[in-house]
């Protein structure tokens, strides 16, 4: 268990009470500017994404998905940061950021399709500004840095023109920080003063490896050696995640260079549906973190702000509807035509692809298509 002795930005305590430490005053100001509707949106989406997660796990257990990657317990880190991303900013996820996806209009079914083997993602990264899921750990962080370097070359950093300037946020987990590509990313970002925020969701487990085996020094300090300052935030506090991300994305956009955020959270579920966490961690640890649930504490907070029962009921009902809808859509997913395996291997015409496509056609004609 990670002792929380390092300074950590927390605005919302596990019991739902709100408080801003003096040294974090600026972050508090970010929250002050939020209205009730925005806060309700945070809650609604956290609940939505959890309900989606639960349904997806069931679908996998029912043989409808090859696997599922649950984000249960990490909703605050994802929804909070997701909503703090600016309207032109680009997002580079790893493969568990379903919560961030819904803050940017990515269809949940797209994510399911990937886990069902219909495609590798298939949503439009340019339109949604939410790039495709990346399965090779840490590989996407270099892409994010390259993208940010391109933004800088475009001159869209620090001009003060918020309509056009943009920054990049790169998500990865505690396990990925061990990969060489992540270190190289920090290096490139720093020497190029790239407009990028590195957002580490430290859910403390990389399959069965505890965070203690991935780092000797808290992850928010990972960037120090490279020249990238960092901050730890309570990853189960949606307001802290929002405030930190907003402030540092704004700064990156303004040209202050790269920043690193470590959201300390916990992976309540398994790594994926193929995993069995009971084999390597204690139930007592899980219970400890369940008591720090991001959605529960936010509900307490909202109720204290005067939000009525009816809102929470409506969210629950919407959740069930969402689940039903996802279930129906999943069963209705068509098998893509076999020939689609040849599409987009190259952008340009390619003789080998033509030959193979022709071969498959000839083969299918002889055998009679079984599609």
């Amino acid at each position: 268990m990670t002792p929380v002795t390092d300074p950590m930005l927390q605005l919302l305590a596990p019991d739902g009470s709100y408080g801003v430490e003096k040294s974090f005053a600026l972050y508090g100001e970010v929250i002050d500017s939020l209205d009730e509707d925005q806060l309700k949106t945070f809650y609604r989406d956290m609940a939505r994404i959890r309900r989606f997660d639960q349904e997806a796990i069931a679908l996998q257990r029912q043989g409808q998905l090859g696997l599922w990657v649950p984000a249960i317990g990490q909703e605050a880190a994802q929804i909070g940061s997701g909503y703090a991303v600016g309207k032109n900013d680009h997002i580079f996820p790893s493969y568990r950021e379903h919560g961030v996806a819904i803050t940017h209009g990515v269809e949940l079914m797209s994510i399911l399709k990937m886990m069902r083997g219909v495609n590798h993602g298939g949503w439009n990264p340019e339109e949604t500004r939410f790039h495709l899921y990346a399965i090779v750990l840490g590989s996407q962080v270099l892409h994010a840095v390259g993208y940010a370097m391109g933004v800088k070359l475009d001159g869209k950093v620090g001009t003060g023109d918020l309509e056009n300037d943009l920054a990049v946020i790169s998500y990865f987990g505690d396990g990925a920080t061990a990969e060489g590509d992540v270190s190289e990313s920090l290096l490139f970002a720093a020497v190029n003063e790239a407009p990028i925020v590195f957002f580490i969701q430290n859910n403390q487990w990389a399959i069965s490896s505890n965070i203690a085996s991935q780092t000797k020094v808290p992850l928010y300090r990972r960037g120090e050696g490279f020249g990238v300052p960092g901050l730890r935030v309570d990853g189960n506090d949606v307001l802290a995640c929002y405030a930190a991300t907003k402030m540092h994305m704004d700064e990156a956009r303004e040209g202050k260079g790269p920043y690193l955020l470590e959201a300390l959270t916990y992976r309540i579920g398994a790594h994926t549906t193929s995993d069995d966490p009971t084999k390597y961690r204690d139930d007592s640890e899980v219970e400890y973190w369940k008591a720090r649930d991001p959605i529960a504490r936010f509900e307490v907070f909202l109720r204290r702000q005067g939000v009525e029962d009816s809102f929470f009921d409506e969210v629950a009902v919407a959740g069930d509807e969402l689940a039903r809808d996802i279930r129906e859509q999943t069963f209705a997913l068509p098998k893509p035509p076999l020939e689609s395996i040849f599409d987009n291997v190259y952008s340009d015409e390619h003789p080998e692809i033509d030959i193979q496509r022709a071969w498959l056609r000839a083969y299918e004609d002889q055998m009679g298509s079984h599609e």
């Binding site: 996998q60 043989g63 886990m115 193929s274 129906e328 071969w359």
Partner: protein
């Protein structure tokens, strides 16, 4: 109302079976979507399975403690109307993807190996072999004049049998030349000719009267053999260049339609060698030796009535084309049996071509009135030494018989050597 069956899924990316640890429901229980119905243990972990249907449990299809293969139905549930999943797994011939006809099999893992079996394939609709390779049509259709299609083993066979692939029509599936095509085309050196042997005759003997051509041959042979002292000498020579030359002549426009064989080159060689060694082209009478300054070249021809030797008058004044035509004419006339006594008179020197019968060499008997006769034997591939290395060349033996009253050993040898050098290097004829 219908029965929906839930097949055991692969819950861990490649699992093939699981054990039912415990059931949480019994027949008759009402169940909701996602309600936990059982606990299973896989190679990786213990997992709770949520129910895919809403309805009433009709039957548990596996018992606690059973190990079940992925894909085997484990529970049957009565469902209302058209649930997204319905009917039995062994419903006949329904394709996945048909609306509501069967439990959906997704692309990704899901059902491991056993899922494959359930994907039905129709029989091949035509029996042509499926090319597992990239279509052969990739090879450009524009075949050049030189290109010949034959599998490597067939090419080897063609070489062994002396068959020129360019002259063979291919009857194979892709138009290539087949083994049968090659064998059918094999000629002179083929081992597949002349395989039929006639039956033993029923009489014990047959008596043929000695008369006509046979009597004449016998008389001439006896006269020749028992008056002239016959000496035969032999030399082996590399005839490869002659063969190449013959091939070139065959291919040339001037010689189109005319039979060109090594015999032509041999004839030319002899005519040239005669100029250098005139004594071999003479006639012995007891009083004098008549040296002829012209060459009436006799060519021994086998006819149905027997051996005859018509000759080409003044063969030394003919060019290659005329000589080739003359040889062809002579052979045709002999085959038709129309050779006249004039044709056979006044020969000065003779070639006998025993090579066409597959014979390497022999000791021919002089044609009466002549002092030399040369035997052209078969031309065969044999090992030969070229630049101190053993290579395969077309080798032939030149055999010649001489009348020792006129032609001594040295003259005979020089003459035969001259003939041999032309056979080895036809360019000497350019002299």
């Amino acid at each position: 109302m219908s029965i929906a069956k839930f097949p055991l899924p692969d819950v861990g990316e490649g699992l093939t079976e699981a054990e039912i640890v415990s059931w949480r429901v019994s027949p008759g229980d009402k169940v909701e979507v996602n309600q936990t119905i059982c606990e299973i243990e896989t190679a990786k972990s213990v997992v709770e399975l949520p129910c895919p249907f809403e309805g009433e449990v009709s039957e548990l299809l596996a018992a606690e403690g059973d190990t079940v293969e992925v894909g085997t139905p484990i529970i049957a549930v009565t469902v209302k109307g058209n649930a997204p999943l319905l009917t039995e797994m062994d419903a006949p011939a329904a394709e996945p993807g048909d609306t509501g006809a069967e439990y959906q099999l997704p692309n990704l893992v899901g059902y491991g190996d056993s899922g494959e079996v359930k994907s039905r394939r129709k029989r091949a609709v035509n029996t042509a072999p499926i090319s597992t390779a990239i279509p052969v049509s990739m090879v450009t259709a524009a075949a050049t004049a030189d290109s010949v299609m034959a599998k490597p083993p067939i090419r080897k066979l063609a070489k062994e049998l002396g068959v020129d692939l360019a002259s063979v029509t291919g009857t194979g599936m892709h138009g290539e030349i087949t083994r049968e095509d090659v064998v059918g085309s094999a000629s002179q050196a083929s081992v597949f000719k002349n395989l039929t042997t006639p039956q033993q005759p029923s009489e014990r003997e047959e008596r043929l009267p000695v008369k006509g051509v046979r009597k004449a041959i016998a008389t001439a042979m006896v006269k020749s053999a028992f008056t002239a002292p016959h000496v035969s000498i032999f030399v082996d020579v590399d005839a490869t260049r002659t063969m190449e030359y013959v091939k070139r002549l065959k291919a040339s426009v001037d010689f189109a339609g005319i039979k060109v064989t090594p015999l032509l080159i041999m004839a030319k060689a002899m005519i040239w060698a005669v100029r250098r060694n005139p004594m071999v082209n003479s006639t012995w009478t007891d009083k004098e030796i008549i040296v002829h300054n012209f060459v009436n070249l006799g060519i021994a021809a086998a006819t149905p009535r027997g051996l005859i030797v018509p000759n080409i008058k003044d063969a030394d004044s003919m060019n290659m084309l005329e000589l080739a035509q003359a040889i062809e004419q002579l052979a045709a006339t002999a085959r038709e049996g129309k050779t006249t006594p004039e044709d056979m008179a006044e020969g000065t020197i003779t070639i006998t071509n025993i090579g066409v019968f597959g014979v390497d060499t022999g000791t021919p008997i002089l044609n009466p009135g002549e002092v030399s006769i040369v035997a052209l034997g078969s031309i065969r591939k044999k090992p030969w030494v070229v630049d101190d290395e053993i290579v395969v060349r077309n080798i032939t033996t030149i055999g010649a018989t001489f009348d020792h009253r006129v032609v001594d050993g040295d003259v005979a040898s020089r003459f035969v050597q001259d003939v041999a050098s032309v056979i080895e290097e036809p360019a000497l004829l350019l002299d």
